[in-house]
């Protein structure tokens, strides 16, 4: 392997790793706040990518049905407990918002409004699915065990996967790049798309950091994560915190989707495998450490890119095998900790 191939693989690994890192961060955050392992994250990635690709062809994406349907179902699920202005706000969030997004999409899509608008539309259509899913499937189980929540999460993943096949069909598609520019750095050529991906993921991570460190709402989410009872005793509603965590995960999952759409052909179920790599990284971080999760995501990206070069048939196998020693080490250390107690 010469240097230029090495640099290309390195670049590929970092770019993919950045996307896995974004997903890993969401998984860690959602788990910390709600104790839900967000397996349907992968479906959000697929749906955003396919919605983006459809919009670019000038068609109205069928995912609008999903948005409206899930919003309506979330409304019905949450409505019977609410009265007065709370009901009004719920209706705005779950009924008026999807209707508005659908209206704008139907109006803009045939005009082929350009990549920037298409990205924003794809985000607007896909991101709200996560909070609707929370209202529908997870909020009613807020006090259940992690295992019950995991079962609900697997259920949501399967249900969304089926709906994805129904809506997008079995064909894959590929979204347009954000930029066709090619930058040359010495002998190395860096596609503009890679820079977009790195720039946007870094911005998103910085945004998350600022939100959690410096805003009252972000601090409140951390408080729910570290001490649920303590949070309730100062008046923070844990289900509202869960809703916000899911909303963030929805936005970042959808962003990951439109970022990968130009890199590879995405099928309705491709997101699952992408999400799984984010999950591997999140697990390495013990579902608790944000920096470790990001670091692990970069390692996953690099391992994937180099194994694709040396043994492309075994790419996925290699990626998911590297997690085994990490898990062994973790359980080893966990036992040590238990012995000390």
């Amino acid at each position: 392997m010469d240097q230029s191939i090495f640099l290309i693989l390195l670049q590929d690994g970092v770019v993919n790793g950045a996307i896995y890192a974004l997903l890993a961060l969401c998984l860690v955050m959602v788990f910390a706040v709600t104790r839900v392992i967000l397996i349907p994250q992968g479906e959000l990635v697929s749906f955003a990518a396919l919605t983006y690709a459809t919009l670019d062809t000038g068609h109205v994406p069928a995912s609008l049905y999903l948005l409206g349907g899930l919003g309506g179902a979330a409304f019905l699920r949450a409505a019977w407990a609410k009265r007065g202005t709370a009901l009004l706000w719920l209706a705005v969030e779950t009924l008026v918002l999807p209707a508005g997004i659908a209206g704008v999409t139907v109006w803009l899509a045939p005009q082929k409004p350009g990549v920037a608008v298409e990205v924003l539309l794809a985000l607007a259509i896909t991101a709200p699915l996560a909070p609707y899913l929370y209202r529908l499937a997870f909020q009613p189980l807020a006090n259940a065990s992690v295992l019950v929540l995991l079962v609900a999460s697997v259920g949501a993943h399967l249900a969304l996967g089926g709906l994805g096949l129904l809506i997008f069909g079995p064909e894959g598609s590929r979204g347009p790049g954000f930029s066709t520019a090619m930058l040359s750095l010495g002998d190395q050529v860096v596609p503009g798309q890679s820079l977009w991906i790195l720039g946007l993921t870094l911005t998103a991570m910085a945004g998350l950091y600022l939100f959690f460190e410096f805003t009252l709402l972000g601090t409140a989410l951390r408080a729910v994560a570290v001490n649920r009872l303590g949070a309730r005793l100062v008046g923070i509603r844990t289900e509202q915190a869960g809703l916000i965590a899911f909303t963030l995960a929805g936005i970042l999952g959808a962003l990951s989707g439109v970022l990968v759409a130009p890199l590879t052909t995405i099928y309705y179920d491709s997101g699952f495998l992408i999400g799984l790599k984010g999950f591997v990284a999140a697990i390495v971080g013990g579902l608790a450490s944000y920096p470790l999760a990001v670091l692990a995501a970069l390692v996953v990206g690099l391992v994937e890119s180099f194994s694709a070069f040396w043994a492309s048939a075994f790419k996925e196998v290699i990626v998911f095998t590297v997690i085994i020693p990490v898990l062994l080490w973790r359980s080893w250390r966990h036992q040590d900790l238990e012995d000390e107690e």
Partner: protein, 240 residues
């Protein structure tokens, strides 16, 4: 005027009756104490009033029946609990814990919360010195101060304190009781649970004795402190 009215309150843990048919009333501006031995059900009683655990019977606060209110909405209504285990945000700083305590004031803006924090620092100067320190690294006394300050940030009408003197050095205990009395002067009503009966009754308007989950005795603070049964059981030795 009645602030808190608890009637027929019962809590069972899997068949074990921890609190049985308790009635408790207190008026605005009062300090009311519940004393009783370990395992009498004091913590269970406060947890039920705060809404942390389900209970049968009724709790009326400020004329509102709390049956359908969650912990969070009780806090929003002015009913705060400082639990026995404190439940601080250990990895966060003193200042962050206080800011979160002011969650209820968030609509009033950053300034209102900062002002409330300054009041807390004035009440507990030790916390002001430690504002950048993580809650988990504080001493027991400082933790208790922070737990009280965090609850006060919500501007409660009624503050419930579960054994605030538990495990603290006598000097700090004195400080805590002095602070409780000072709080009443600012208009906060206080429901206090204590094993330190002497100090608690000394500052109380009214007291209840809880034994085996039932109210065994009740009366004015001074009267209870003078009651021979109390003296024998809780004040007899000068141990505390």
């Amino acid at each position: 005027m009645t602030l808190l009215d608890v009637r027929h309150l019962s809590v069972a843990f899997g068949g074990i009756q921890a609190v049985s048919d308790v009635a408790l009333r207190m008026a605005h501006g009062q300090i009311v104490t519940v004393i009783g031995p370990n395992g009498a059900g004091k913590t269970t009683l406060l947890s039920a009033i705060a809404g942390i655990i389900p209970a049968s019977g009724s709790v009326t606060f400020g004329g509102v029946d709390l049956a359908r209110h969650t912990v969070e909405s009780r806090v929003a209504g002015g009913l705060s609990l400082v639990p026995e285990k404190r439940e601080l945000f250990a990895g966060m700083t003193v200042a962050e814990n206080l800011r979160l305590g002011g969650w209820r004031l968030r609509a009033q803006g950053f300034r209102a919360a900062t002002r409330a924090m300054d009041e807390c620092y004035a009440l507990f100067p030790r916390l002001a010195e430690r504002r950048g320190q993580r809650a988990g690294t504080l001493s027991g006394g400082e933790r208790q101060m922070l737990a009280m300050a965090r609850a006060l940030m919500a501007k409660p009408t009624l503050l419930m304190l579960d054994e605030p003197s538990l495990g603290l050095a006598p000097l700090i205990v004195r400080d805590i009781f002095r602070t409780i009395r000072a709080l009443r002067e600012t208009g906060v009503s206080i429901l206090l649970v204590e094993q330190n009966a002497r100090a608690a009754l000394a500052i109380s308007d009214y007291g209840y004795v809880l034994e085996g989950g039932r109210i065994a005795l009740e009366g004015d603070g001074a009267a209870l402190a003078a009651d021979p049964r109390i003296v024998e059981m809780y004040l007899g030795t000068a141990a505390r």
